[in-house]
Symmetry: C2
C-alpha cells in the first residue's frame, strides 16, 4: 500500500496518462510519466518525466528506482518492458491482464471461460480459415487483427463473398480473428474497478455513439432497462474479479434487440481508464482516473454514485478550435488535453454537459 507523497510511475504520456496524473495529485500522490514522445501532453502536469523508448533498459531502471508502483495508459506495452519492470516493483494491472487483452482471440476465449457471451468468432491464420469461418459464422462479419487494433484500425468489414478477396492482405496478413456481425441496437460500456484487497465497484452504464469508428458521445444513463444495466455492471465486476484485476477497466458491450434471448454480448475490454468513462469526471465525485490511482495505490475505492445525468462529447481534430464556445456552454465542463498539434481524428479534449437526474 502506498503512503501519501509516494510516486506512481505511468507508462504512456497521452491524455489518459495526463488525467491519471492530475487525479493522483488531488489525492496527494506524485507521478512520473514515462513516454518516448517528447511532445507528450502528460509531461506538462508532473515534476517528473522520462522521455525514452520502452526498450531503453537504463532509462527503465532509473524509472523503476524513482517510483513505488507502475501503471499504464495503454494495453499495447511491449511485453519485455513489463517483464523488466515487474522484476523490480509492482506493475498494475498485472501482466496476466495484458496477455488477455492484447490479443482479441485470447480475450474472446477468456470471456467464454467465465460465461460472458460474445458474438461468434473464429481463429484465422489462412485463406482457408477465412472461408471456413465465413461458412460457420455467415456474413456480414468483421475480420480483425488479433493484436494492436484500436479506433477501427486493423479491421475489415466483410459484407459479401467478394469482400473476402484481399481481406487478409488489407490487414497485413497478420494473425486474425473473424467475428460474426451483431445487429446491435445500442453500444454500451461498463467501467469497473477493483483494488488488491478485492473491493470491486462499478459505475452506472454508459451509452456510446461512434462516428468514423471513433467514440463521439457517451450518455449516462444509457437507454436500457434497470435489469440490463444491472447485468452489464455484473459483467464488468466479474471480469475484474476473474482476472484478480487491480485498477480500472472498461468492457464494451452490444445490446441486442428484444427478440434475442441473450441481450448483452461483450465486444472487447480495455485494461485501463477508458474514453467512455470520461463522464465520471463531471457527474461523480470520484472519477475513473482517481479510482484507478486509488486501486493502484492499494487505497480504498471511492463512491461511484452519480449526482447528475451527463453527456460527454469528444472533441476530435478541429472540434477543439471552438474552445471559447465550449468554455461558455451552460452546465458544461471543458477538458482540453494540451496537445501541441491538432490533427484529423486526434482526440483533443472532451466536453461534459450535466443535467439534474431525471426520475425513472
Amino acid at each position: 500500500m502506498l503512503q501519501p507523497g509516494d510516486t506512481i510511475g505511468i507508462l504512456g504520456g497521452g491524455q489518459l496518462g495526463r488525467m491519471m496524473a492530475l487525479a493522483a495529485s488531488r489525492i496527494g500522490l506524485k507521478s512520473h510519466i514515462y513516454c518516448p514522445d517528447p511532445n507528450s501532453p502528460a509531461f506538462d502536469v508532473t515534476a517528473f518525466h522520462t522521455c525514452a523508448s520502452y526498450e531503453d533498459e537504463a532509462a527503465l531502471e532509473a524509472f523503476a528506482r524513482s517510483v513505488q508502483r507502475v501503471t499504464y495508459e495503454f494495453e499495447n506495452i511491449p511485453a519485455p518492458t513489463v517483464e523488466f519492470l515487474k522484476a523490480r516493483l509492482p506493475v498494475l494491472p498485472g501482466d496476466n491482464v495484458l496477455k488477455t487483452s492484447q490479443d482479441r482471440l485470447t480475450e474472446k476465449n477468456f470471456f467464454a471461460s467465465i460465461d460472458i457471451p460474445t458474438a461468434g468468432f473464429y481463429d484465422i491464420s489462412s485463406e482457408q480459415d477465412l472461408r471456413d469461418g465465413v461458412a460457420k459464422l455467415g456474413l456480414p462479419a468483421l475480420l480483425k487483427t488479433r493484436r494492436f487494433g484500436y479506433d477501427g484500425k486493423g479491421q475489415v468489414f466483410l459484407k459479401n463473398e467478394a469482400d473476402l478477396t484481399g481481406a487478409l492482405d488489407a490487414i497485413g496478413n497478420q494473425p486474425a480473428i473473424l467475428e460474426a456481425f451483431v445487429p446491435f441496437e445500442r453500444e454500451i460500456s461498463v467501467i469497473a474497478a477493483r483494488n488488491e484487497q478485492g473491493q470491486t465497484v462499478s459505475y452506472d452504464i454508459a451509452e456510446n455513439v461512434h462516428k468514423n469508428q471513433i467514440l463521439k458521445t457517451t450518455t449516462v444513463p444509457a437507454h436500457i432497462s434497470p435489469e440490463v444495466a444491472a447485468q452489464a455492471r455484473q459483467i464488468g465486476e466479474k471480469v475484474a474479479q476473474a482476472l484478480d484485476y487491480v485498477g480500472v477497466l472498461a468492457v464494451e458491450l452490444f445490446l441486442l434487440p428484444d427478440s434475442f434471448d441473450q441481450r448483452l454480448v461483450a465486444n472487447e475490454m480495455a485494461p485501463r481508464v477508458h474514453n467512455s468513462g470520461h463522464w465520471t469526471e463531471s457527474a461523480c465525485l470520484v472519477s475513473q482516473f482517481e479510482q484507478h490511482i486509488r486501486a493502484v495505490a492499494g487505497w480504498p475505492l471511492g463512491d461511484t454514485r452519480r449526482h447528475s445525468d451527463v453527456v460527454m462529447t469528444n472533441l476530435i481534430g478541429d472540434d477543439i478550435n471552438a474552445w471559447p464556445k465550449h468554455l461558455s456552454h451552460p452546465s458544461s465542463s471543458l477538458h482540453s488535453y494540451g496537445k501541441s498539434e491538432t490533427r484529423d481524428g486526434r482526440k483533443m479534449g472532451h466536453l461534459n454537459q450535466i443535467s439534474p437526474i431525471k426520475g425513472d
Copy 2:
C-alpha cells in the same frame, strides 16, 4: 488573451497555487510556479518551477520570460516584486488590488467608498489613538495590525479597559486598526470572479465556521434568506467591478441578528481563490480555481451554478492522518495537498461531502 498551450506564472507554491495549476492543466494551459520554499507542494504538479526569493531579480527576469501572464496565491507579495514583473507582463489581479487588500485600513476605507457597510473602525498609531478609538467604538473591540495578518495572527481581542494595557506591544507596535466587535449571527462569504472583458459572476453564498480562528467548515447553501444571499452576491460583484478586478476574489461578511437594520457587514476581502470556495470543486462544474485561471487568461468565465448541496471540512494538522477513512466516506471527495510535513494548525487537505439539492 492567452492561447491554449500558453503558460501562466503563479507566485506562491502552497495548496492554492497547486490547485490553480491543476485547474489550468484541465483547460489546456501550462503553469510555472515561483516560490522560495523548496518543499512547495505546487512544484509537484507542473513541469516548470522556480525556487528563488521574491527579491531575486535574475530569477524573476527568467520567470517573466517563460510565462505569458502572472497571478498569485497570496496577497502579501512584496510590492517591488509586483513592480518588477508588471513592467514586463500582465500581473493579475492588478496592483491596485494588492494595495487595497494588503492594508486593513485602506480596505475598510475602500468598502466605505463604495457604500459597503463594515463594522466601525479607527486608525491606531499610538496609545492615545487606542484610547480615543475605544471611546468612540466601545468595548469589546479588536485591535489588528494593518498589514500581514491571517488566520487570527496579529490581532488582540479587547474585552475590557484592562486589556488595553500592553495591547499595542502584543501586536509589535505596528500601525493598527481598531474594529468594533460585531455580535454576528453567522459568518458567510461570497466568491466572485471578473474577467478583463468585464464579465462578472458569483457563486452561491457559503456559511463558514471557524475553530481557533482557522476555517473549519463551509456549508452551502448558507442558512440565510434569498434576499440576504442576493445582497451578499451583489457585494462580491460590486467589489470586483469597483476594482476593475481580474480573477477570483472572496469577501467575508458578518450576518447580524434580525434586530439590526443593516444585516450584512463586510469583514475583509481576499484578492485570490479562497478556502471558503473549495466546495466549488465538488458541487459546481467550474471550480473557483478554474474560474480564476479563465479570468487571468482572458477567457470566458464558466457556469457558477451548483449541482449539489455541500459541506467542506478543512483537514488541519493531524486530521489528515485519517486519510483512509476520508477516502471511504460516502458521497465525499478528499483533496490532499501533498505537503511533506504535518504541523499543528497547518491546512493539509479538505473533504467535500455533497448531497442532493434540497427544495426551498
